[in-house]
């Protein structure tokens, strides 16, 4: 089984639009949207949710006011400024915990002399298994201000693998999150191939360098696609040089094409929506990616 993860560092490079086209081109794939923070793939693939699960991670502290003796031990021990007081003196003040600031460390729970702090599991979001016109899709929605998107990403990938194994599907296509932090690390670890999508702008090339560093750090193979390459051919050339210098390959140069937005407005992938030269290039890119994954074995 092969797992392709598409990431970009910088957002807005066209990652999700590419993934939508790959989804349409791949035979027998499972799709996974690991951009759990701001998932968009479902807007194109229009999934029908078949299974829905609550995602919990860690715990949160909640003070039972009835049992609180207002001693302030929780305030003294909290390092995350999560314990709020109404400003009255110790012995009188009412203490509450700001759920957003609470790190879930449980130190206040441990040190509360009258055990007046509950520590329930924290609900952080939901994840779904859905059917789409291009095969099964696993996606998720992280709650606002929720933590540990890395864990949710791992869960989405795991579920996608399970489905692939169960249904004998050979490929998993993952729409990865932006950035280089926790969720990205969780989405590329142990995958077959990373496709980094960039654009010829200072931000695009700067972020690509950080993404390459990350893939090297975690020892996963990486290829690069330069999207909207004609916006600045000079920067495109510099990016390609830098990619080569680091021992990676640019597998596609895609031009800027308004058809990408038009397809999105129509709720379709580019290869479904149009038959022009961009669609043709996307087909070529997908073939190339399949070969790359085959090579890696």
């Amino acid at each position: 089984m092969k797992e392709l993860v598409v990431i970009s560092g910088k957002g807005g490079t066209g990652k999700t639009s590419l993934v939508a086209s790959f989804a349409a081109l791949a035979k027998n794939a499972v799709l996974a949207d690991c951009d759990v923070d701001a998932a968009d793939l479902h807007l194109v693939l229009a999934p029908t949710v078949e299974r829905r699960e609550v995602f919990t991670s860690g715990h949160e502290a909640i003070i039972r006011q009835a049992d609180c003796i207002h001693c302030g031990a929780c305030l003294a021990h909290c390092r995350f400024d999560a314990v709020k007081t109404d400003g009255r003196a110790a012995g009188e003040a009412e203490f509450t915990i700001d759920p957003v600031s609470c790190e879930g460390c449980g130190v206040c729970v441990h040190f509360c002399p009258v055990k007046a702090i509950d520590f329930p599991e924290r609900t952080c979001g939901e994840w779904f298994v859905s059917a789409t016109r291009h095969g099964p899709m696993v996606h998720a929605r992280l709650g606002i201000a929720a933590e540990n998107s890395g864990k949710l990403v791992s869960l989405v990938r795991k579920e996608a693998r399970r489905i692939a194994e169960e249904q004998g599907r050979q490929t998993i296509i993952v729409d990865g999150p932006p950035g280089i932090g926790c969720p990205v690390i969780a989405s590329i670890g142990g995958c077959s191939l990373v496709l980094a999508v960039t654009e010829p702008t200072p931000s695009g090339s700067h972020d690509l360098a950080r993404v390459m560093e990350l893939a090297e750090h975690f020892k996963v193979p990486l290829v690069v696609c330069i999207n909207k390459c004609d916006i600045n051919t000079e920067v495109s050339r510099q990016i390609e040089q830098e990619v080569k210098r680091r021992g990676h390959t640019v597998v596609a140069h895609l031009p800027y094409d308004p058809v990408v937005t038009q397809a999105q407005m129509a709720g379709q992938s580019v290869v479904e929506y149009a038959n022009g030269s961009l669609a043709e290039q996307l087909r070529g890119l997908w073939q190339r990616l399949e070969q790359e994954m085959e090579k890696i074995g």
């Binding site: 970009s8 560092g9 910088k10 957002g11 807005g12 490079t13 999700t16 923070d37 701001a38 968009d40 807007l43 860690g58 715990h59 021990h77 390092r79 995350f80 957003v100 790190e103 879930g104 460390c105 449980g106 130190v107 441990h110 040190f111 992280l142 606002i144 201000a145 929720a146 933590e147 998107s149 890395g150 999150p177 932006p178 950035g179 280089i180 932090g181 926790c182 690390i185 654009e199 010829p200 702008t201 200072p202 931000s203 700067h206 972020d207 950080r210 560093e213 990350l214 750090h217 975690f218 909207k228 916006i231 600045n232 920067v235 800027y256 308004p258 937005t261 999105q264 407005m265 709720g267």
Partner: protein
């Protein structure tokens, strides 16, 4: 005796909001609201044990930016020359400074302080506890200082420093935009956010910063992919390493009771037969293990997670947080970048994309949030998430539509239905994309963009003044 040199090694460094000597209060009493911290070099950290029992401490430090010694000098409080040893002026033969400050709390080797009248970056030589038992003396003679009345002393003692009160702030500026007078409120924080990445957040942050005119601080809190500096190309003035505290176990003192592993919610400590094993990268720095260790066998060291650079590009001071590659948790670094917000100028925060914890860390405390989006299905979907986030925190917001003519009217319809102001629309033009791709700043190249961003600035400032300032 004469001619002998005594060399001291600093034990740490004092950090404060004071970066220019002229704006630094002369005494702690004139700096009561000034927060700061002393970072002690880890090798001396053991010496801090029990210090948190004292509410106030003496800081003994080296006045590293003092001028040459003058034996007769005018003190800050009075225009009369006095012998330097009868003053606390910095121009002393041995440039030693002394302050009594409040110790708010200790985090490992970092002391959080209040009433800090010390310049940022001052080398710290020694710490002693202040105690009323030894140090409070009633009925003292106060020399020439008794000649200065309290009001004058306060005014002169504060020097250029002004406490947070926008109305009296001498840095408040009045701008005239489109015939309307707009007062920029120094200390105001404008956050630039978007649910989706790549919508033009950085473009808006950079161009707005350059358009507001006058000193602006731009805080790049997109620490995973900080990009503002690529366009502003600032001259770097200062560099700070940001770390989080992690436990270090003293194997000799440890009896392998395992309580540290038991309290750790993050699985960062493994309890083994022969003692605990710490995984620093999993630690959230809660300090629980330190507190529960019955043998006091755990102390904390700082593990670096990223760096902050402060640079200057024209009137824009840019503070960039950069997360180390491979580092999973950005909020501590984002919070550190936000500490650079200044009360005497407009602060612009470039947030990371999304709606999860890093975004919240960046958004909190903002006076106004600009949400940047595109008129596409992806843009609208992510805008809705961003609006939900901003509203959960009771923050007011407005929308900037980028590449305004590529899609349809769904974003505008949504904004109208939700009573969210559309502040400006940036057209989709090839020359804008090309300007951006060359690393150039729109307002410096395209005149119509200057007008557009001036309009944006004016709208936000007007909003800030309007009486209907209620969070939606």
């Amino acid at each position: 005796m004469s001619g002998e040199t005594i060399a001291y090694r600093p034990i740490g460094v004092i950090h404060s909001e004071h970066t220019t000597p002229e704006d630094t209060p002369a005494q702690p009493v004139y700096a009561q609201e000034c927060l700061g911290r002393a970072e002690i070099i880890p090798e001396y950290a053991d010496g801090l044990r029990d210090l948190e029992g004292f509410s106030h401490i003496y800081l003994v430090y080296h006045l590293h930016r003092a001028g040459p010694a003058k034996l007769v000098t005018k003190p800050f409080l009075q225009d009369v020359e006095r012998g330097v040893f009868a003053t606390r002026a910095p121009c002393r033969p041995n440039a030693i400074g002394l302050s009594i400050v409040e110790l708010v709390r200790r985090e490992g080797n970092v002391l959080h302080l209040k009433g800090v009248d010390v310049l940022d970056g001052t080398p710290l030589l020694d710490i002693k506890p202040y105690t009323a038992k030894f140090d409070r003396i009633e009925g003292t003679r106060n020399g020439w200082q008794d000649e200065v009345d309290d009001a004058t002393a306060r005014k002169r003692g504060q020097r250029g420093y002004r406490p947070k009160d926008a109305a009296q702030n001498p840095h408040a500026r009045t701008l005239v935009r489109g015939g309307k007078e707009v007062t920029l409120t120094p200390g105001m924080t404008i956050a630039i956010a978007s649910g989706k990445g790549g919508t033009g957040k950085t473009t808006v942050a950079v161009n707005l910063a350059l358009t507001l005119g006058g000193p602006v601080r731009l805080l790049d809190c997109d620490v995973e992919e900080p990009n503002c500096h690529l366009f502003l190309r600032p001259k770097i003035k200062n560099l700070e390493t940001v770390g989080v505290p992690v436990p270090v176990v003293d194997a000799l003192a440890c009896d392998a009771c395992g309580r540290c592993a038991e309290i750790c919610q993050f699985g960062a400590i493994a309890a083994l037969k022969n003692g605990p094993l710490v995984f620093a990268e999993l630690c959230h720095g809660c300090g629980g293990c330190l507190s529960v260790c019955p043998r006091h066998a755990i102390r904390e060291e700082t593990r670096p997670i990223g760096a902050i650079t402060v640079g200057q590009a024209g009137d824009v001071e840019i503070v960039t947080g950069q997360l180390r590659v491979g580092e999973a948790k950005s909020p501590p670094l984002i919070r550190a970048v936000k500490k650079y917000a200044r009360d005497d100028r407009v602060n612009i925060v470039d947030c990371p994309p999304g709606t999860s914890c890093p975004v919240i860390a960046a958004l909190r405390g903002a006076d106004f949030v600009i949400l940047v989006t595109e008129p596409t299905p992806f843009g609208l979907h992510d805008l809705k998430l961003a609006v939900e986030t901003v509203r959960q925190f009771g923050l007011a917001c407005g929308v900037v539509i980028n590449r305004a003519d590529i899609g349809d009217s769904r974003v505008k319809d949504y904004c109208a239905a939700e009573s969210i102001p559309v502040l400006v629309e940036i057209p989709h033009r090839r020359e804008i994309a090309e300007t951006y791709s060359r690393g150039q700043v729109l307002v410096q190249v395209l005149p119509e963009m200057r007008a557009l961003f001036a309009d944006l600035g004016a709208r936000i400032m007007n909003w800030n003044k309007s009486p209907s300032r209620v969070a939606p």
